[in-house]
Structure formats: C-alpha cells, structure tokens
Symmetry: C2
Subunit: 373 residues, 2 copies
C-alpha cells in the first residue's frame, strides 16, 4: 500500500465523512490553542516580516481546515493593531496528500475571504491562500519562505508501513504481526523496533525539510497522537487499534474476512512518547523546543452536544465513526469496500463495551519550537 496514494480522510459531507466526524481533531486543535498563541506572540515580538508565510501541514478537509488558519490570522491581526502597525501580507499554504479533497476546501474559500474582509476591513493583509499537495516528509516549500508552520493530528501517520514487518525470501513472505494491525501487548520486539525506527526516519525527514523552509526565528507548532509512557504497548497509545483488530478477527472467525488479510495489514501509524520526539529534534539540531506538553482526550472528544443529525448514537458508535472517517481509505484499499459497514458496526459495539469498563483516553502531544537563527 502506497500511503501517499491511499490515505485520505473520508470525502464529502455524508454520515461517514470526515467533515461530519472530526470533532476529536477539532478538540485537539483547541487544546493546543494556548501553546500556539504563546509561540506566535513570541515570534511577532521579535520580528514581523513584510510578507509572512504560514503553512498548515495535513490540513485535511472539512470545518477544521480553515478554522486553525483563522485563529492564527486573528492573533497576527490583534498583535499588529496593538503595535499600531499595518499587518504583513499573509501567504497561507494548506498541505495534505494529493488524494485529499482540496476541491471541498476551495469551495469554502470565497466565504472565508468575505468573512476576513467583513471582520478586519479591506486594509487587512492581504491574505492569499494556496494549497500545496504532497508528503510533508519531503520538501514542500522554498527555502526560508515560512514563518509559522502548524500541523495537527497528522504526524502520527507514517510515510509507509514499517518495511521490517514483512520478511520476504525467495520462496515466501512471512508476516510478523499476525492477527494484529498495530503494536499490541503480544507484538514481538521486532515489531516494536520496526515501528519505532520508521517513526525516527520519518520525523527526522520532516524536521530536516522544515528546517530548510522556516526562516530564522519562525515557529513550528505540532500536535499529534502519542503516549505518556516509554512503553509503546500501553493502552492509551494502541488500544483503539487493538479493538479494531478484534473486530476484524471476529469477522475472520465467521469466514467474512480472510485471516491472511488481517495478518498482512499493519497501520502506517505511530504514537511516539515525549522522549522520542525530543531525541529527534535534538539530533536534527535546527530547532529549540519552547513547550512540549501532553494532554488527555476522550475517545469521542468529550463532546457532550453530540450531533444527532444522523440519529442518537452510543459512545461506541460515535468513536467508531470518528475512526472510520480517518482510516476507511486504507482499510477499504486492503480489505475491500463490502465489509466496511459490518466492520465498523462491530467495532462500535466492541468500543462501547470497552469504554463501559475502562477510562482509557488518548494522549496527545503538543510541541512548540523556534527555528534557530
């Protein structure tokens, strides 16, 4: 599976779309607000360039795509007003993989510009929004052209399934993580090693690319799924995958899915711990970490006012929809379209049952850093 050609949040705006099931990610964005605000203010105090480059990496589509950009723009506007100086010209770049639904983001741009003009007057900016499709594990932008880079709920996606999970010989291919689709308590040391190594390679490529693109003094604000413990098999970082594997295996036991299909699927995902993040940033050497904090977040985002557009739903069902909107493109590519409804029905039930017994939450890491001069 070529992640770059397959991974995208569910398109459109129907019941299973990411646009209608991205409240967890929206909550995660709001958790990072304080840290982001602090970093941006600090940057603006040192230097406001005439043209300011802002990028959101892994912007996806739906209501979250432009909301974060709006917030950053609000901060710049407020700070410049305080300082009694005109706002810089803003060039905003939205990035995601080429198979994402950019048409849908572009459809909401005219309203975004109207709102900007209405709220801030025609003297503001101007602000120019572009989209730059591609993998953020490589270069995306010209050298020193950015001043503020943001990425939320994206960097836990690896560039590829760790290659060490399959051992190919002339005669056969042996899969190493049978019956599982991500790191599990029963996974071998080789599996943990393969995942950790792929994360190191990817995150290091990410930092190297950004270090070329961000101007001295510019800030980078990252937020991704991770874990508190150095042990990668703790529930907070992998039990949502464990339950999805269980749902798949229950379908295997009824002959609805081939066992080899499950054995050969592994998620291109990794939830790192704080130490892994720190090590890579130090190794790369171009950034100084200002903040690195962890937050807990409920599997359904802790949203009380659940949207009932599509009928009342159990917590398990809501979680299943959130996960489906994110991982369906990959599962469908590997297992086929036909089993998706049944799989996520079972997954919802499994999650409902699990959450009734435990208080497991996701751990989200938020990091702000500054590009050295």
């Amino acid at each position: 599976m070529e992640v770059m050609q397959v991974l995208h949040m569910n398109k459109g705006d129907d019941e299973n779309s990411y646009a209608k099931n991205s409240k967890v990610q929206s909550k995660i964005i709001s958790l990072g607000k304080r840290i982001n605000g602090e970093a941006i203010m600090q940057m603006l105090c040192t230097n406001i360039p005439d043209i300011m480059g802002i990028a959101d990496l892994g912007c996806s589509s739906g209501p979250n795509s432009l909301s974060l950009i709006s917030e950053i723009i609000d901060m710049i506007y407020a700070k410049c007003r305080d300082l009694g100086r005109p706002t810089p010209e803003l060039k905003v770049f939205l990035n995601d993989l080429p198979c994402s639904d950019f048409n849908s983001i572009f459809g909401s741009l005219p309203a975004f510009y109207d709102e900007l003009r209405k709220e801030k007057g025609s003297e503001f900016g101007p602000c120019f929004v572009s989209a730059t499709p591609g993998s953020f594990y490589g270069r995306l932008f010209p050298s020193r052209s950015l001043h503020c880079v943001h990425s939320s709920s994206s960097l836990h996606w690896l560039s590829q399934v760790p290659p060490g999970l399959e051992i190919s010989s002339a005669r056969m291919t042996t899969t190493m993580n049978k019956g599982k689709i991500y790191i599990s308590k029963s996974s071998s040391h080789g599996v943990l090693e393969a995942y950790s190594l792929q994360f190191q390679t990817d995150f290091s490529s990410f930092l190297k690319s950004r270090s070329k693109e961000i101007a001295a003094g510019g800030c980078m604000l990252l937020s991704l799924m991770g874990r508190r413990s150095t042990d990668p098999t703790t529930d907070d970082s992998c039990y949502h995958w464990e339950l999805l594997a269980q749902a798949l295996m229950s379908m295997v036991s009824e002959g609805l899915v081939e066992e080899e299909k499950v054995d050969s699927f592994n998620a291109p995902y990794y939830g790192p711990c704080v130490e892994e993040i720190k090590t890579e940033i130090e190794k790369e050497g171009s950034f100084i970490v200002s903040r690195l904090e962890t937050f807990e977040i409920e599997w359904d985002g802790g949203v009380d006012d659940a949207d009932t557009t599509f009928g009342a739903q159990s917590r398990g069902q809501r979680v299943a929809k959130t996960i489906r909107a994110v991982v369906e493109s990959m599962l469908e590519f590997h297992f086929g379209k036909d089993i998706m409804d049944e799989l996520f029905k079972r997954y919802g039930e499994t999650v409902e049952d699990y959450l009734s017994k435990t208080g497991t939450k996701y751990t989200n890491l938020v990091i702000s850093m500054v590009r050295k001069g």
Copy 2:
C-alpha cells in the same frame, strides 16, 4: 449569474469533459511557444533569482494544465545548464476559479514530479507546485513574488456579464440583446459599449493586480481570443456565439426553450482587438510590451488526427464538443441540464453547415511584456 461561482471547464474525463476536448487550447499554447520562449530567455539573461515564482492563471484541468509549466521549466533548466549555474528553486502556482477541478490536477502531480526527477536529476530545482484559487481580476499573490506569469485562453472571460445589458426600473427589467447571447451584427451600440467597457474595467484590474505581484524585470505572457479588426461584430470574434444563439432560437421556435431565457442570457466574454489591449497596458503604465501578435486558428484547432475514442465525428460535432466543454457550466446554470444534449447536437449541425460555406477562423492574440524596474 456569479461568474466566479459558475464558470468552470467540464470536469472529469468523459466524452464531454474539457480534458478530452481541449485540443484547440493546446494548439493555442503551442502557437505562443516562440514568443514565450523569447520572453523567458530575455528575462533569464538579465537576472536569475534564487527562488523563482511562476504562475499560470486560468490553468483549468486536463492535459494542458501542467504541459505549459513543463515547457517553462524546460527552458529554465536549459538556460541554467548553458550558463553552468544551478537552477533556482521554483515555486509554481496554478490558478483558476475556486469551482475548478483542482483535485484532478493534483492527482497528476506525483507523475509530474517523477518525470521531472527522471529527466533532470535530483539536483534540479527543487520545484514546488501549489494551487491558488480565486479570480485573477483581483490580487492572488504577495507583492513582487512572481517572475513569470502566464495565462492562455482565459482572459477573454469577463468577471461578470456587462451590467449595462439590462436596464432595471422599479416596474420592470428590459433586456437589450434579445435573441442573441453575445455581440452580434444586429446588436445596438449600447451592447457593444457595455461589453467593451466591461473588458476595459476587467483588463485594467488584471494589470493593476499583476503589476504589484511581478518583480521588476519579470515577464508576463498572455494569450486570449480576440479579433484583427477594431469592429467587434466581425465574424472571427463572434460568429461562434451567433451560431449558438441560432441553435437556442431554433429550440425556442419549437417551444423547447423559453424566449425570455435566451433574451436574458449574455456570455461574460469579450474578444478584444490589439488596440484595446495596448490602450489598457499603456494606461496602467507598469509594463513594456515586447511582442503583440495575432494568429489565426481553425475552429477545431486544425487537428487532423481527431481522437476517435468516442466514434468518428464531423467537424461541426468536434467544434460543438470543444465549445460545450468550455461553456456548458454557464449554459446549464441558466437553461437547465435537460436541454444540453439537444442544444449541442443542433449547434454541431449549424456549425458543420456554416464551416462548409466559409473559412472563418478564430483570432488569437499573443502578448509578451516585461514589468518595468
């Protein structure tokens, strides 16, 4: 009709798509090749910046979207190799209205990048492609950020239907161009005046925006439909609209289309003459014209090896498809989807008949200019 929200080339890649019916536009791009090459070479002789901004305005989707960019990149590559210097970093911006099919262009980007690497090696560039949706009659890019701006087969589209074509009073709205959908030999002076005025306003806004965005010494390469004569009613500039109006009126006579619908539709299009272009450029004052040439082009692009994927077709049918791929979004918005097949069937027959008797061709204007220092 809000042009910005309606006008787009036909999406997808079926029989009526722009992707499958854009050979005329491809021919037009190739006609401008010599003039474009000369202008780019001239610019590269004066100055090669470290980061070079290139924009294609009205890029549409389909095979033409990236072919022009490829050509410009080839020229830069060749020139830098001649000079024995590394190529600049290239930031490429594709622009069109927000309702265009950008997803389809983005789908072909990975192959575009692969080709670039294969042909020119990993030392080339790097080259970063972004899309910037919006109307080119306003600002799209930061100040002095571009070095080469190109636009082909787009600037003949106006930002709106000339407002002077409808006279509204408290009691009624009077339409001025009854039975026609563009300038016609029988159009009143008021109609010609309204169209010409809208072109002046739009082209002047275009020049004003670009003069801010293009760095001193940068070049602008424009190609658009127009006419040789100062008389706007000559066949080369408006008879393809005349025949479309005839096809519509034949449907009116059979009760298939309401007459008022035709009376109230006018194309947001204008084919200017050389003098009108020159006047606006001189009035704006930031650009020096290097070349301004006119070319004749057959209504079917003079393509001998007609694509027979969808069966052998008469010349009239081929022309009808070319026009349909471009104007259907607007006609459908105004007249409804249902009449499209019948309308373009009749249009194809009318065009076939007309072309068998005359040698009318389109006139295409190609202009290259340099931003003053």
